[in-house]
């Protein structure tokens, strides 16, 4: 009898503990007063973002939020948007979807964000996109090239891309190969190394769309996240297959491992690296701390072909690069603010977000913001050299890429000297040359909309 008595007591304890814990958790959130639109007050706009700030998938990406915040702080220092300061609430989901769902719930229900902006990651974003959209929360400038998020606005009406899709980019790259490496393609001398996830598969699909396929012996893959086991076998297989050009569809660290390994093996094909994996800073940081001297690392990167919708972060004369670099120096308080592609990307999202908020007007509502993005989003300009393609038919962002090669200073430069922008879509559309000319940045480095 005594035992049962004490069991009952423990039940009571656990119930009470539960109640206490829950009340504790409510307490801070009850203070938020009711407003006309969630996350918007006369003086503030609250935006939410999630990304892997820690964990295996975080390196590199964990700089994006700091760059965005730096740009918002810069905007706030100039008075904000329509008198409202932008507050960015960032949650670390360690790139685990189970956690993403929780952090999204925190952002939505507890922090009461007006919109989500710049969230990083495909797998993680899949887990919450349906819920965010159902609630009508704007899901702007998602940092994923997965076309499934954007090509059907009826399915995900509030989600808008921040990047060109993997398919668009790889279609353009495939076309470049067909034009310049036809002999190698015909002789079966072109190989591919891809990671077995949506990114790698979408890249293969883009190449296939343009009629570029890879013979089985030239096709190597690895499980995303397992590059820690080394990619020596894959690179050796490509070497044994005698390929002279290798397409790499892998994240930045795996790309660095691949090219570094090939050098050690005495294997020196032409490399074509998709933009996701071609961050020069990551590449050089990794190779340099491996003991490869900076000069050797630069030499390895020299001649690597890649595509971009934006200027290379190393283009010191680009007016956006100059402006963003200065803002980064002045406002970035993150743990690592070394200027690179990730910082440029974060700054650009900050710039675009500011523009969209301006465009949605003084009377800021979620519906209004989405209406603006669909109606006039395509007219926004940014640091990118490509136009944006937001409309009611698609929520894809950049539809144009230029092909370049890294020079000896690790700057991606147009091949042949002139930058040619190619435009296409994520479906079967043709590839055409774009005539888009990027509008100049304003003297105050703030977007001007309307």
């Amino acid at each position: 009898m005594k035992i049962r008595g004490s069991q009952t007591k423990r039940w009571v304890i656990s119930i009470v503990a539960g109640a206490v814990a829950s009340t504790l958790a409510i307490a801070p959130s009850q203070a938020i007063p009711v407003r006309s639109e969630v996350g918007v007050s006369a003086t503030e706009i609250v935006l939410g973002m999630q990304l892997p700030q820690t964990g295996p998938a975080s390196p590199g990406y964990n700089k994006i939020d700091d760059a965005m915040r730096a740009y918002f702080d810069f905007v706030n220092s100039k008075g904000g948007v329509n008198g409202r300061k932008i507050k960015l609430v960032v949650k670390d989901d360690t790139y685990k979807a189970g956690l993403t769902i929780s952090t999204a719930s925190t952002l939505i229900n507890k922090d009461k964000v007006f919109a989500m902006v710049g969230s990083v990651g495909t797998q993680t974003h899949i887990s919450i996109i349906k819920d965010i959209n159902r609630r009508g929360i704007p899901d702007l400038f998602v940092n994923s090239g997965y076309s499934g998020f954007y090509i059907d606005p009826k399915k995900y009406p509030t989600s808008f891309a921040a990047l060109g899709t993997y398919v668009v980019e790889s279609k353009i790259e495939a076309e470049y190969l067909k034009a310049n490496y036809a002999k190698e393609l015909a002789a079966g001398k072109v190989g591919v190394l891809y990671q077995t996830d949506d990114f790698g598969r979408n890249v293969l699909a883009g190449f296939k769309q343009q009629g570029v396929t890879f013979p089985p012996a030239n096709t190597q893959k690895f499980v995303a996240g397992s590059q820690a086991l080394g990619l020596t076998r894959q690179v050796q297989a490509l070497q044994a297959a005698g390929v002279t050009l290798v397409v790499i569809a892998a994240v930045a660290n795996a790309t660095a491992i691949t090219i570094g390994t090939a050098a050690k093996l005495g294997f020196a094909p032409k490399w074509l690296v998709t933009s996701v994996g071609s961050d020069a800073t990551t590449f050089k940081t990794i190779l340099a701390s491996q003991g490869t001297s900076g000069a050797v690392a630069s030499a390895l990167l020299t001649g690597v072909i890649s595509a971009s919708h934006a200027p290379s972060p190393g283009e010191d004369t680009d007016e956006f690069v100059i402006a963003f670099k200065k803002i980064n120096d002045d406002f970035n308080v993150g743990p690592d603010k070394t200027w690179d592609n990730n910082v440029l990307q974060g700054m650009n999202i900050g710039y675009l977000t500011t523009a969209a908020l301006q465009g949605a007007g003084k009377d800021l509502t979620r519906k209004g913001l989405i209406a603006f993005m669909e109606g006039k989003g395509a007219t926004l300009s940014s640091a990118a050299l490509s136009p944006l393609s937001y409309s009611s038919k698609t929520h894809e962002a950049y539809n144009s890429f230029w092909i370049g090669a890294y020079d000896a200073n690790s700057v991606l430069k147009p091949i042949g000297g002139t930058r040619v922008l190619y435009t296409t879509d994520s479906a079967a559309g043709p590839i055409t040359v774009s005539t888009y000319k990027r509008p100049a940045i304003a003297a105050d480095a703030l977007p001007k909309v309307g």
């Binding site: 035992i3 049962r4 004490s6 069991q7 009952t8 007591k9 423990r10 039940w11 304890i13 656990s14 119930i15 503990a17 539960g18 109640a19 814990a21 829950s22 504790l24 958790a25 409510i26 801070p28 959130s29 009850q30 700030q53 820690t54 700091d66 670390d92 360690t94 790139y95 685990k96 979807a97 189970g98 769902i101 929780s102 719930s105 925190t106 939505i108 229900n109 507890k110 495909t122 797998q123 993680t124 899949i126 887990s127 919450i128 349906k130 819920d131 159902r134 609630r135 499934g148 077995t196 996830d197 949506d198 598969r201 499980v223 995303a224 308080v333 993150g334 743990p335």
Partner: protein
């Protein structure tokens, strides 16, 4: 037999009391806490599965998350491909994972202690890669998008139910059923014979308990419960490899240890701790000038310290304090 009936009745009353209490409590909650409570209950089922395993066999598993994945995938593929209702999904998850646990348990019955811990850790790592092998059914690394759906019209006509609240209402009866099932099991003869095997294998064998079979049965029950929890957990939005990573298994273990190994109420408290810890940290450091780097890693750091402290100061966990007094 009469004694067992008595226990059954008591457990029923306790479970129902808890259910009614949580149900009523949910009305006072904001959506955020309704969602958190639903999450607590889902993970609680997962932790319960570990409680069964640990309480009844003295073993720990670092792969309970993988079993949750089996449940999640079996229910989600049914829902996605055959349009089954989530309730059918729960049933299938329960039985599919039980079968999986049977296979696994047959192998694992011969493995114990740190060996089992390591083996289950490898299972937790390897299992998600199966999703990539059967992309057409399991959705590859993108996974299967599923959710709790919306309440049926006879409820939504009656009362306005928010998404989080509906989530809670679905999870609550399932969690209570699992709780009722487990608390009875641990109290009945079956549970007692399990504990006999745990405490003294040879003694149990001498008194006629089939030791090997008992170990497998414990594994099957534990797996089935984990599968049920996994099915619910997947409905939060996605069933995919990154929903059931190794760290999920470690979270479940942490909750089980913090709350008190093998204790049902401890499992609940442990789950509350792991779910609300990030909120508590946020609350505690808000207003303090904590660098981003520190605040990013604070939850992991604190969890590590809590785990160590529990193990060193009182290995039996929070609820274990009560346990010891009985002796």
């Amino acid at each position: 037999m009469d004694k067992y009936k008595n226990i059954w009745r008591k457990n029923l009353i306790k479970t129902l009391t808890l259910g009614v209490f949580l149900f009523l409590l949910s009305f006072t909650f904001e959506p955020y806490n309704q969602g958190q409570l639903a999450l607590v209950l889902m993970l609680f089922i997962g932790v319960l599965s570990l409680t069964v395993l640990t309480g009844a066999s003295g073993q720990i598993s670092l792969g309970q998350g993988a079993l949750m994945a089996v449940g999640g995938y079996s229910s989600a593929s049914l829902i996605t491909h055959l349009g089954a209702s989530i309730w059918i999904g729960f049933l299938v998850a329960f039985f599919a994972t039980a079968i999986f646990g049977l296979i696994l348990g047959t192998a694992a019955a011969r493995v114990s202690g740190p060996y089992l811990a390591g083996t289950t850790l490898v299972i937790a790592l390897a299992l998600p890669s199966v999703a990539n092998r059967f992309e057409s059914v399991l959705g590859g690394d993108v996974g299967l998008i599923v959710d709790f759906g919306t309440p049926p019209t006879w409820i939504s006509n009656l009362i306005e139910v928010g998404y989080e609240q509906w989530q809670l209402w679905v999870v609550l009866p399932v969690a209570l059923t699992a709780l009722f099932f487990i608390s009875n099991l641990m109290a009945t003869r079956a549970g007692r014979s399990w504990q006999a095997v745990r405490d003294d294998e040879i003694g149990a064998a001498v008194s006629g308990i089939p030791v090997a079979r008992t170990k497998v049965i414990v594994f099957v029950v534990s797996s089935a419960i984990a599968g049920l929890g996994g099915a619910l957990y997947g409905l939060r939005g996605l069933v995919g490899p990154s929903v059931y990573p190794v760290s999920l298994s470690l979270t479940l273990l942490t909750a089980a240890i913090l709350g008190g190994v093998g204790s049902i109420s401890g499992a609940f408290i442990g789950t509350l701790i792991v779910v609300f810890l990030p909120d508590l940290i946020d609350w505690a450091i808000s207003g303090l000038a904590v660098s981003e780097q520190l605040s990013n890693y604070l939850p992991a750091l604190l969890t590590g310290f809590l785990l160590l402290a529990t193990i060193i100061i009182n290995p039996a966990g929070v609820m274990g304090a009560g346990h010891r007094k009985k002796h």
